[in-house]
Symmetry: C2
Subunit: 335 residues, 2 copies
């Protein structure tokens, strides 16, 4: 049974990530990580008629693939934690409705993969489930329409804006000695330093990432030197730089081990993505398509996965509010 | 450590609800349960300038009250699970942002109190937290504006519509032998029988409630006779009748023990609420203001709390989709 220190629960059981799957859109497949994404669609519709139905289909395909890769069926999964960016999380609820798996909806904006994965891991650690699953998605077209402008407007994007990834990632967990293991989870606090620029999510989220990483370092007694990789979700180029600066100021430098899914998934200039990728599907697809498989190959032994989310809505922005943010952190290890 | 059978986790520890608080609006205070609601606002604004800020304030007040009633401070709470009906769950994220408590966002539409309470309870059962909290809210004005029409339109409501409760409920959990104890939690599956009438949520949610209650009866070997009260969240008058009919057809009658928060909170005719109350705040405020305190007084010994949620969004309805629903169930007992 896990042991809690501060905001972190340290696991005593071997909570293994036994299967992962990711599905992405064409732009993500065309990017630098294209060779890692075996499942993708050549258009934004995934065979559906609307962007929202496409996002649900993205989740359904990804969940079914992950379950199949684990040699399981839906009836083997005791609980699935899922969420997304769409109002009322309909990417998840419509995507997963036919799977007949007990469902717990979560919302953490772009931090959702870390949140769903943390809770799915606690279900295994506590003996509350034999198999659990964590999933999330985002879709460029459904997100732009909902959070910014309909694509048909052809609005110009600002220099610090990020590009919402069309993608989904799903992980299946069970007790396992051989798979990459979740060793601890750290739940973040809501952090709001007063950023109001809705086109600069990285700046709003960087302090939340710093707060959670610092909490984990304090709770665990570890430093950046203990890890091959400290992977943030989607701070992008601007937010990543800010995070490294904050960590330097806090005398806990991470830049030597740090990378960010939002920086990795697109080629910044040729793909015209400004500050990089964003959206729950960004960190979910990079974690599930690249990082976990590379841990299985021995490329990474001990990593921190810290996904960050901006917790505003268009209406709070219209009402002049600043942008609260959160980050949840997971330590994944091959030992 | 809990033992899972089917969709249900049975607890082995004494996971107690040590403190509850609820806050409601004027209409709820004017209703039949008015004497149970000691904290209420005489207008819909709770001292704020917008309906959305009012809903956040409702959560903040309720969380702080519950924590204070437990003789705790925010720093004693290891994790709070919260969610609401607003896009991107901003009722919770803005309401709780200044509390500095590790936060896990959940989304289950009107089932949210059962979802947040289940997860908060598992944190205690697993030893992952010393104190955990569960909260949710809804607000008539912010919900009407978002899901139906701006109030200024003065739109006529259809006969089967429900009235979204302005209310919030919060529960604080820790290991305790004397408090009402959570004995098990059952996570529901998404159920969709093809209902498309967005003004008849009760019909969409009743099959989900039946599915989860039947799962629990199967997992536990119990029947309705084992309980003083089987309390559904907000099926209202129409959905409650349908649920009892489904349970009769399944040879698992519950009508003798059944009641519904959506039926209890308003006086149907004089308060002009058509099919009754709804919204996450409905079951949360009734559970926290009336039911748990009455358990402490010995009025109820053993109850099932089953909150139901309709998992659509306005956009899925506009796209011709039916309404998926879910219900999560908690057994609460004084023994």
């Amino acid at each position: 049974m896990g042991k809690r220190i501060g905001s972190t629960v340290f696991f005593e059981n071997d909570v293994g990530i036994i299967s992962v799957a990711a599905t992405v859109g064409k732009k993500e497949h065309d990017g630098p990580l294209g060779s890692y994404f075996e499942d993708y669609s050549d258009d934004e519709f995934f065979g559906q008629k609307t962007f929202e139905k496409a996002e649900s289909e993205l989740q359904r395909l990804t969940a079914e693939k992950a379950i199949k890769k684990a040699n399981l069926t839906c009836s083997d999964i005791d609980i699935i934690f899922g969420g997304d960016l769409l109002n009322q999380c309909v990417g998840s609820t419509f995507g997963l409705r036919d799977l007949n798996i007990p469902f717990a909806g979560v919302y953490g904006a772009c931090s959702t993969m870390a949140l769903s994965l943390s809770l799915a891991a606690l279900m295994i650690e506590g003996g509350f489930a034999s198999h659990s699953a964590a999933i999330t998605s985002s879709h460029f077209c459904s997100a732009e329409k909902q959070f910014r402008f309909p694509l048909e407007y052809g609005s110009q994007r600002t220099p610090l804006a990020q590009w919402t990834v069309t993608g989904s990632g799903c992980a299946i967990l069970k007790k396992s000695k051989s798979a990459p293991k979740i060793k601890s989870v750290t739940f973040g606090k809501i952090t709001d330093l007063g950023i109001t620029d809705i086109n600069n999510m990285g700046a709003a989220m960087a302090p939340a990432a710093a707060d959670t990483i610092l909490s984990y370092f304090k709770d665990s007694g570890k430093t950046a030197n203990d890890f091959d990789l400290i992977l943030t979700g989607d701070l992008g180029f601007v937010g990543s730089k800010l995070l490294c600066e904050i960590m330097d100021m806090e005398d806990a430098p991470i830049w030597a081990a740090h990378d960010d899914c939002g920086k990795m998934i697109f080629e910044r200039k040729s793909q015209d993505v400004h500050s990089g990728g964003s959206g729950c599907g960004c960190s979910a697809s990079v974690l599930c398509a690249k990082i976990i498989p590379e841990m299985q190959k021995g490329i990474y032994k001990n990593i921190l996965f810290c996904a960050t989310g901006a917790l505003m809505s268009p209406i709070t922005t219209f009402q002049g509010e600043s942008i609260p943010a959160i980050a949840h952190l997971i330590n994944i290890c091959m030992e």
